[in-house]
Amino acid sequence: MTSDVRERTLAKRLFSANTLWIALVLLVLIAVFGAIRPDAVLTTFTLQTTLVETSVLLVLSVGMTYVIITSGIDLSVGSVLVFSGVTSAMTMNAMNDGNATDAGWGTVLVGLVVALVSGAAWGLLNGLLVAKTGIPPLIVTLGSFGAALGAGQLISNGSNVSGVPDVLSDNLGTGTWFGIPNLVLLAAVVTGIGALVLATTRFGRYTYAIGSNEEAARRVGIAVTGHLVKVYLLAGTLAGLAGFMALAYFRVASITGHDTDNLNAIAGVVLGGTSLFGGAGSIVGTVLGVFIPAVLRKGFVIVGVNVYWQPIAVAIVLVAAVWFDQSRRRARNQR
């Protein structure tokens, strides 16, 4: 056996060549915008707001990464976010005679639990249908995409729900901790745990194995059905958490405005190098993939690009970034 068992450090593995080039793209973007408007781009303020505004999407994308690595897809996350926000806000209001604005931490805690449970319930439903029935995940989650939104509208009677406790929005929504917005901290913790679980634990290993070859995973005795249920459950629960975060940040459970969260999350995941065919991908990649469009959009507003040009410019940079990443990786593999 001549195999040399070279050790790769955790850092190296997390930040492998698969994510190196896309990280470079992100840095270049920041540098370019920074060079054009250093006074507006390279400021704590812009950094803070960009991070905050990306936090919710990031949490969605962490769950989505797991789902896509199993070679599944979850179109429902945006609707589940809406549903969880609505149930959470309505519960908090109900506990406080219809308006929770001045409610205390107890109410907030109940609201959090309701949001998580609401998200988890949809995730469980998705997972059971995907894992047990053989219905393609696209169809299952397209169904829950419509159903969760409809259910949210049904219970809120079609309107946004306000009355979010001030303690929630002032602390989680806009509060900071040594200059770091609390929302960003929460998203960072979720992302960090998500990355570690995926890269180092058995749960992560099974996620890759199922996406790589579901039949093989089944034959070696992995409980594929159960694992898939857990993965969709995770994605749903994180969507519930994201709904709660959105509540804290926007101070309202909004019914509209999350139609494209699913595509944005999927795009971030794929941009970060996770394969739609499953078996390969990483959370670090997802983080980069989520930030690239966010930085672009913000940068274009700051440097004042015409609104009609913005989507075109975003599209061009998006495609160019992946192109660059692909050709660098290929060159590296051919070497």
């Binding site: 068992v5 749960f203 890759y208 034959r219 005795g221």
Partner: protein, 253 residues
């Protein structure tokens, strides 16, 4: 002879309009190597899948260690100590060889980390390296996904996986098909060693000299049915080929 370890009777399996098994029977005893041979499409792989829980027969009975069992999943078979090298290998191409070797049986770090599910990748890699060494497998790098290995290297990983984990019976569906001369000898050695530990080994192979060299008994499948059984010591390549092609047939095999 003793009680059979595994005794399958009259298994039938359809795929749509294709009849892969038409009442196949099969017997294996502890401490023996029994070869299962037959023409392409005779139903050998299908039989193995039915006996290792990967597929469900439409009808028929299976008894193991004297008790009638059903094998709804591969996990059920593994729990009985049955491991399998599938002809299609059934590996996860994106994972590296060590990850594939330990798939479903991962080692965890000691202590609280392990309790949290954290894998002991270093230890798994170390053990994998030594298992591959036993089989004479040479890998330039253990870090690459198994999908990029050569055909023989991939097959060796699958063989290593089965013998590491089996405790009662190993099915090997053409384990040596892609192996080099040296690796093939090593695998045959391993098969004998496993048998000597008291396990049953079921070998599927189209290489008749190999079959005769390593087996104690031979069972022949033809068109989804068992058509003959031989003691390896009492038979010849010609007789085996005759049974496989239908030129020769035994009563109540």
């Amino acid at each position: 002879m003793a009680e059979p370890l595994l005794d399958a009777r009259d298994l039938v399996k359809h795929y749509g309009s294709v009849e892969a098994l038409r009442g196949a029977s099969f017997t294996a005893y502890a401490g023996e190597v029994v070869s299962l041979i037959g023409d392409n499409g005779a139903g050998k792989s299908t039989l193995v899948k039915c006996l290792s829980g990967a597929e469900q027969p439409d009808s028929g009975t299976i008894s193991f260690d004297g008790r009638t069992i059903s094998l709804p999943t591969p996990t059920a078979a593994r729990a009985l100590g049955i491991e399998t090298v599938y002809q299609d290998l059934a590996v996860a191409p994106d994972l590296d060889p060590a990850a594939n070797l330990f798939l479903g049986r991962e080692l965890r770090k000691p202590g609280v980390l392990g309790w949290l599910g954290v894998l002991d990748k270093k230890e798994m890699r170390r053990l994998a390296t030594s298992s591959f060494g036993d089989l004479g497998v040479t890998l330039q790098s253990v870090d690459v996904p198994i999908g990029s290995l050569s055909g023989g290297q991939r097959q060796s990983v699958a063989v290593a996986r089965s013998v590491v984990w089996a405790s009662k019976l190993v099915f090997m569906d053409e384990p040596t098909a892609a192996l080099g001369v040296v690796q093939r000898e090593r695998v045959l050695d391993v098969i004998k060693r496993v048998r000597d530990q008291g396990m049953a080994v079921v070998l599927i192979s189209h290489n008749m000299p190999e079959v005769l060299a390593v087996s104690d008994r031979v069972e022949v499948l033809r068109l989804g049915r068992r058509v003959a059984r031989f003691r390896a010591a009492d038979t010849t390549v010609e007789e085996l080929v005759g049974a496989m092609t239908g030129a020769l047939s035994q009563e109540d095999a």
